[in-house]
């Protein structure tokens, strides 16, 4: 799966939890889930669980802690997909 394909899938995953629509429309690798997209920190768990289902991977605690922006999340997903 290419980098862009992962970002597109991630974009659909985060959309229901976003509270800042203008920043979501300009989503890029540097977008921070909490600061830019204003996702409720408790909903980051839902984002991670949806990522697990969508990509059929298992996210551990230390991965979860890194998944605070688009770039870091794509990196974690890519790493897990490569391990499959």
């Amino acid at each position: 799966m290419t980098h862009n394909e992962i970002i597109q899938k991630l974009k659909s995953i985060v959309e229901p939890y976003v509270n800042n629509q203008p920043n979501f429309e300009q989503l890029n690798e540097n977008s921070d889930f909490i600061k830019d997209l204003e996702i409720n920190s408790a909903n980051l768990v839902d984002v991670v669980l949806d990522v697990e289902d969508e990509f059929d991977i298992r996210i551990e605690n230390d991965d979860m802690e890194k998944m605070l922006n688009v770039e870091a999340t794509v990196d974690v997903i890519q790493k897990k997909l490569n391990q499959k």
Partner: protein, 146 residues
């Protein structure tokens, strides 16, 4: 009351007048069931509503959360040591209210785990009254703050 029920209630971070759990009836890794009696002299009936006491929806939601999230979470974390230091926060509720609960009624709260991951517990929850009629139904979630 069973030992597990006593132990869970002792560890709950609430006390009167904001404790809405009398007893945990059943609990396992996936489900919890508890009960609470809304006694006629509870403080909020004086104001909700004027001359027409009805249990407020927020209090029913709180009762669902104290049993379905806090008590259930304490059970699921029973092997952790610092239960008395645990800080909780309710993070979402999506519930509907089907029937009023009047002063003096006893309700049963049943919750089923949807997930418990990364310190967040999400459950589907139902409250039923003494005649086994459903009064609240929905999903609620909370987190343990570290």
């Amino acid at each position: 009351m069973t030992d597990i029920s006593k132990e869970i209630i002792q560890n709950l971070p609430y006390q009167k007048p904001f404790l809405f759990v009398d007893e945990i009836l059943e609990v396992d890794e996936n489900n919890i069931k508890g009960q609470f009696e809304f006694k006629e002299d509870l403080w909020f009936y004086a104001g909700h509503f004027k001359n027409n006491p009805v249990t407020p929806g927020v209090i029913l939601t709180e009762c669902a959360a104290q049993i379905g999230l806090a008590a259930f979470g304490i059970f699921l974390l029973k092997n952790e040591s610092d239960l008395d230091q645990m800080k909780l926060a309710m993070t979402s509720t999506n519930v509907e209210f089907l029937k009023p609960v009047l002063p003096g009624e006893q309700v049963v709260v049943k919750a089923e785990k949807i997930y418990f991951r990364f310190n967040k517990l999400k459950v589907s929850v139902e409250i039923s009254d003494q005649s086994d009629q459903m009064v609240l139904k929905g999903e609620i979630a909370g987190v343990i703050l570290t």
